[in-house]
Symmetry: C2
């Protein structure tokens, strides 16, 4: 019995369970609306390290160890890590995870990475390739600004469409059973390029990809928006949300009653001056662990589609005048 | 019946077949010892594009389309792409593959990427998650020098331990059966850090990781070196080869009769002034397609272990004084 459904989706006959998960964030995220829900809130943006990159590596190590501990496991029991970050050559991942001593599949999906990591992790567990795997993703405001934009000291003015990169890492241990939430399906995204070139308006760059993946999820699983209690995009922010709702309406689907966005939920835009909302691989990862998982665990929500969204650019591609294509990776989470 | 063997390996009960594969390289690779074996050799390093990055994207598109064509398929029949490159945020992949319109899992494994891509592709096909997938990886001398080292115009002198990044892309279409070569197993690598900091001696950085993965492959499958006709590392070059052979001897295995290195095979070091040998994600990928696959297809070799090796660094991690950890992903290929 095949588990392929439609063009881009898989439905897991034996849906992998999330056995433990953890989130660690920075001070600003701790002061936001979800602040009381994170496992660890750092007071120091460097987390005791000397560089932004080392701080982000620290986030990966801590989140990984916490999630493994919460699952009641030890790191030698985890067969594979699926992880990535936003930095060139994924150095937050490489230096963060070396001490865990677990076979690694390094990923790059921009801010969609936690969707990609959970997809591949679930595929691996559902196929009996592993008893336990861990899926994770991180970002850090300091390392991301250095990687993509201006030195923080330059204090450049940010347009209202700009996002604020979340400092944080979310980690999820998957196994065959025993958890309160399972991953029942995935819809894997294509690269979607609407020709937008403004790297300070990434919500607009990513909204078409989110539309494409969500629409395909409805088609492949033969579902309506109301079949989900919530549909969470990763980091479209307010600008991208409006575009997404419009694009899906043109395709005949109104998700305005179900849609939320991790980037909108994580900050109080007005009070925290975060403009369009949160972004970065960590945004969807920590919001999933701290907020969405809790709602599913207490069965306040029964079925959620999480659609982390990634903007595929580098400072080189941007400076060479390229567009910013998007990609979105959907994961269907259901309470047990 | 589980397919997990030992600590880090999978043995595929129904081993996925390689149904079509292709290689495209630059002029220098075309002038090397394997030159007559590549599908396409470009005369112009820019392949008609305006930037090194766009040239590398062109390589991915061309190799992908050729491999799909050689498999007798069309791109809509391919369910997933597994691909990556060396550039920051994987832009060669993102911009190269957008037109294929296939769901993408973006990877980062440095120069081990083709091993990672073939591993995940084989896992996906063997689990019935797809009828066909494509696994690929690319690098480009121009884009890599710009990304990691000096502007080409600077004409910096390279030490004899330095590698020459291969301009090329190799692509492999995997399916359930019908090919002449199958992937019968994989051994997934851990990050291994011996504390080496010299980014112009990557062979030394990666050799410990290659040793770790090859040793684990012998343990997990209960095999001896002589169970393989060849054991190909990705891009250790002459410096790394010596270290690898020594390290494995310390662990009780002599692979000197079986070992070859794609980075050594692809250039004539003396005539082509490539010093330690070839490197880059493309090195193992094009050598596999052009050379190793042919030997397996004509049954000159029956079983080969391919172990692409990656050096996990960025210019930021290097400039911050970090070490260069390595990772190596082994794929066991057998003629049918």
């Amino acid at each position: 019995m095949t588990q392929m459904v439609g063009k881009q989706s898989l439905q897991f006959e034996h849906a992998p369970h999330i056995l433990g998960h953890a989130s660690i964030v920075g001070k600003k995220e701790g002061e936001g609306p979800l602040g009381h829900l994170f496992d660890v809130v750092g007071e120091d943006a460097l987390f005791g390290e000397k560089t932004w990159e080392a701080a982000e590596s620290y986030l990966q190590k801590q989140a990984g160890e916490m999630a493994i501990g919460k699952a009641g496991l030890e790191s030698w029991q985890i067969r594979y890590i699926f992880s990535g970050d936003l930095l060139a050559q994924g150095v937050a991942t490489s230096f963060g995870l070396v001490d865990l001593n677990i076979p690694l599949f390094g990923l790059y999906g921009a801010c969609s990475t936690i969707g990609e990591a959970l997809s591949l992790g679930a595929m691996t567990v559902a196929a009996d390739y592993a008893d336990y795997v861990i899926s994770m993703a991180s970002s850090h405001f300091g390392s991301a600004e250095k990687e993509f934009r201006f030195p923080l000291q330059y204090a450049g003015q940010r347009p209202l469409s700009a996002c604020w990169t979340v400092t944080g890492c979310g980690a999820f241990v998957l196994g065959k059973d025993g958890g309160k939430v399972r991953i029942t399906g995935i819809t894997t995204g294509k690269i979607v390029d609407y020709g937008i070139k403004d790297s300070l308006n990434m919500g607009a760059c990513m909204a078409p990809a989110a539309c494409d993946t969500i629409y395909q999820n409805f088609m492949d699983f033969n579902r309506q928006p109301s079949d989900y209690d919530r549909i969470f995009t990763g980091d479209l922010g307010n600008v991208g949300k409006t575009i997404l709702l419009d694009l899906l309406k043109e395709k005949g689907f109104d998700i305005s009653s179900q849609h939320s966005d991790c980037g909108i939920e994580i900050y109080d835009a007005e009070r925290q001056d975060t403009h369009n909302g949160g972004s970065g691989c960590g945004c969807a990862a920590v919001t999933l662990s701290a907020y969405i998982m809790r709602q599913l665990e207490k069965k306040a929500w029964k079925r959620v589609m999480l659609v982390p969204t990634g903007a595929l650019l580098s400072k080189v591609s941007y400076n060479e005048g390229n567009t910013v294509p998007g990609i979105a990776q959907a994961v269907v989470l259901e309470s047990c």
